[in-house]
């Protein structure tokens, strides 16, 4: 029996259309719009002005606080303006607009880095570098990585878990990265193990990526302390808490972090970004993005510069097909629908999903028939039907007592509800209000 988390979970159709398509480099966009709020926490502070010339990897916005991150220019070119552009949140946010210099060769060079195994930096330097080079969690949550790595003195820590689960349907960015950059990822893992003084690391991969599992199993034969855990396919196994439970059997306490059970979890994409930052001094300016959808001409995986407008990506795969009704930034379960194609790719964009008419529409919400399906699929052991009711009726205190804040917003409840009820919409709303109430109390 393969490992998995015990309670709840669903099996949505995988639709991993692009899993056998290698990662291509996307043509350099003419203009990039780099939002300054690409990570969780405080937005970065802009340090460039209009008409400034910038180089690839130059800092254009500085970390604005403890939970924040630097932002680097993805291209060489000129800052044309600092504008308000709709980003993935659906609202206009500040963006640095940079016009790519067509004459600057640095933009079009294909740099291939050799594999560097020797780790020269000291632990403190590693963490400082990760912080300087703007690395955030690339799994989608975009939590600044250095914050996770800044472990307080005396905290017990014994295992690093690498999240290669990619349980979202459609997305294959992490899968392809694992296939193509396995050696580098293993070096990246060793970098983090050194930085955190850890002796054990586990790579968690779902069993629908057998090729990746076997590649890693081969590589780690030579390495000490690194293991590969093949996991049963189940959504939402990529959730930190579910992953820790699946691999180590440890349960992260309510409202706690994996750190509370001696674990740090990082996504494979993040690990690769860390490898490049430490070994090749390359800041985070590009990432792998899966552009996919059932009706696209050539769905593919791309290396994309941060700030590339999504319309450029869509043009690359043959344009929007007839009858497109929804565009999603991320996977179909947790991604955000975007308002138009001017929205730029950010550090958290793991995929662009193009959905057509037949799948895009939500069914009509009907009465709850109390089938209990939402309760049985909730991986956090919550009662979504109850939480929705409570937040719809404004009983936030009670909702808080029913552990509404532990919801991980995986969407399993809305996915299974036979009455098409907008469970997660209301729960998310309730969470927002409860959070506001809690902060106003403190």
């Amino acid at each position: 029996m393969l490992k998995t988390f015990p309670k709840g979970g669903i099996h949505p159709p995988e639709n991993k259309i692009t899993s056998s398509i290698g990662i291509k480099r996307m043509t350099v966009p003419k203009v990039v719009n780099v939002p300054i709020a690409q990570h969780i926490g405080i937005p970065a502070e802009i340090v460039v002005d209009r008409k400034d010339k910038v180089e690839i990897g130059q800092i254009i916005a500085k970390s604005g606080g403890f939970v924040s991150s630097n932002i680097h220019s993805p291209v060489a070119g000129t800052v044309t303006k600092i504008d308000q552009i709709i980003d993935t949140s659906g609202y206009k946010k500040q963006c640095i607009v940079i016009r790519t210099d067509a004459k600057n060769e640095a933009n079009f060079e294909e740099v291939t880095y050799p594999l560097l195994k020797e780790i020269k930096l000291e632990p403190k330097e590693i963490i400082q570098r990760i912080s300087d080079f703007g690395i955030v969690g690339l799994g989608g949550a975009t939590f600044p990585s250095q914050v996770k790595l800044n472990v307080k003195e005396g905290t017990k820590l014994d295992c690093l878990i690498i999240n290669g689960v990619e349980c979202e349907p459609y997305l294959t960015a992490d899968h392809r990265l694992m296939l193509e950059k396995a050696e580098e990822i293993v070096v990246g893992i060793k970098i983090l193990m050194k930085a955190l003084h850890l002796k054990k690391a586990v790579i968690g991969i779902e069993n629908n990526k057998k090729d990746a599992i076997s590649i890693f199993k081969n590589i780690i034969k030579k390495e000490d302390g690194i293991q590969v855990a093949a996991l049963q396919v189940k959504y939402p196994q990529g959730g930190e808490k579910q992953l820790v439970k699946a691999i180590l059997g440890r349960e992260v306490p309510k409202n706690g972090l994996p750190l509370d059970v001696g674990v740090i979890v990082h996504n494979v994409g993040t690990i690769f970004a860390i490898y490049e930052a430490i070994q090749h001094t390359k800041p985070l300016t590009e990432r792998v993005v899966t552009v996919t959808g059932k009706h696209l001409e050539t769905p593919s995986n791309f290396w994309v510069k941060i700030g590339t407008p999504i319309k450029d990506l869509i043009a690359e795969v043959g344009g929007l097909p007839e009858g497109t009704r929804k565009l999603v930034n991320g996977g179909p379960m947790m991604g955000k629908a975007i308002k138009n194609t001017d929205v730029p790719v950010t550090k958290g964009t793991s995929g662009i999903l193009v959905i057509s008419e037949d799948e895009a529409s939500r069914g009509k919400s009907e009465n709850c028939i109390r089938c209990g399906e939402c309760v049985s699929v909730c991986p956090m052991g919550l009662e979504p039907h109850l939480l929705m009711n409570l937040s719809e009726k404004g009983m936030y205190e009670k909702a808080s007592n029913e552990d509404i804040m532990t919801c991980i917003e995986c969407g399993s409840c809305s996915y299974v509800c036979p009455s098409n009820r907008p469970l997660l919409d209301y729960i998310r709303f309730g969470k927002n209000i409860v959070k506001k109430l809690q902060t106003s109390k403190n």
């Binding site: 206009k92 138009n340 919400s365 907008p422």
Partner: protein, 327 residues
């Protein structure tokens, strides 16, 4: 037979007596003293429990009124000055007189002037759709049109206009309790002084985008041209983030700004003749009339041309038939 009747009567009577004694003791022992003034003040208050004063209900507001020394900050918006005066007389405290206010909707983005560019699916409440994204139109400041404000109104003073998709306030019923102001996630609704005959002049827009973008997303958006600021002699209009705001305290209701606003985003209500919505409607009607007239002219032209052609033909025919007449 008589025995059982007697027993049950006795049993019930004794039960009643015991219960009465217990109740009496409990009520004596756990008696809580309450200032009788509170009940009296509560009697004066409107009893709407709307929470417009900041207290959760009229009773708790009454407690607050009785227990605080200086009540000049406290005000019951529903009862207004009359009620506050009565309270003041009862308690022997000073109250501040406030000009009556009324809620106004600061958005004119009806369906025909502010086109929808996306379709929102999900629970139709403003609070949730505002959480998901900036709304179905390209304007991220304006009304979302799902009527959270109408839902919270306890006084039946609001309704959604089906044609425009915007909330409408019945100023006669509005008690300015402020529930709608709190409910609106976009802060579109503002409390403004009611003035005489409910005359009000205010900017009916909250769009902070630059002129071109604002105008593109909504025909009646404030484009930040500051013409109104220039024309105002009282300095009541200020520009901030491409958006004009009229300070009600300084405004003399002269309506100069209304006339200069190129997008008709300044609203003047209840003035004779010029009603704000009509301006927009008028403009549309004018446009339509112009269009129709232009077409008429065009049609007439072609008609004239046709007539001319026919005339020519007839003339030619006549010429052909009577070649001699001319000669």
């Amino acid at each position: 037979m008589t025995d059982s009747v007697l027993y049950s009567v006795l049993l019930l009577t004794s039960l009643g007596v015991i219960a009465a004694v217990v109740l009496y003791i409990v009520s004596k022992k756990f008696y809580v003293y309450e200032n009788p003034l509170i009940a009296e003040v509560d009697e004066i208050l409107p009893g709407a429990n709307c929470a417009g004063c900041g207290s959760p209900g009229c009773k708790s507001f009454a407690e607050k009124l009785v227990n605080t020394e200086d009540i000049s900050d406290l005000f019951c918006p529903v009862g207004g000055n009359d009620v506050m005066k009565q309270v003041a007389a009862l308690l022997g405290k000073e109250v501040a007189e406030k000009a009556p206010t009324v809620a106004v909707v600061r958005c004119q983005g009806a369906c025909d002037v502010r086109p929808k560019t996306t379709e929102y699916q999900g629970p139709r409440t403003c609070a949730i759709s505002a959480m998901v994204y900036s709304g179905e139109t390209d304007c991220q400041y304006g009304c979302l049109g799902d009527g959270d404000c109408v839902a919270v109104c306890d006084f039946d003073a609001m309704y959604m206009d089906e044609k425009t998709g915007l909330p409408v306030i019945d100023t006669d019923k509005c008690t300015s309790c402020g529930a709608c102001v709190k409910a609106c996630p976009r802060d579109i609704i503002e409390m403004r002084p009611k003035n005489k005959r409910d005359l009000k002049v205010f900017v009916g827009c909250l769009n902070e985008d630059k002129g071109g973008i604002a105008k593109k997303s909504c025909e009646v958006a404030c484009i930040g041209c500051s013409k109104c600021e220039d024309v105002c002699t009282k300095g009541a209009i200020t520009m901030h983030n491409n958006l004009a705001y009229i300070d009600a305290d300084l405004c003399t209701l002269c309506r100069k700004c209304v006339d200069v606003c190129p997008t008709h985003s300044i609203i003047a209500t209840n003035f004779p003749q010029k009603k704000p919505k009509k301006v927009v409607v008028k403009k549309i009607i004018e446009k339509a009339v112009e269009k129709v007239e232009a077409e008429k002219v065009k049609a007439e032209k072609t008609e004239v041309e046709k007539v001319a052609v026919v005339k020519k033909e007839i003339v030619a025919k006549v010429k052909l038939e009577n070649p001699k007449t001319d000669a």
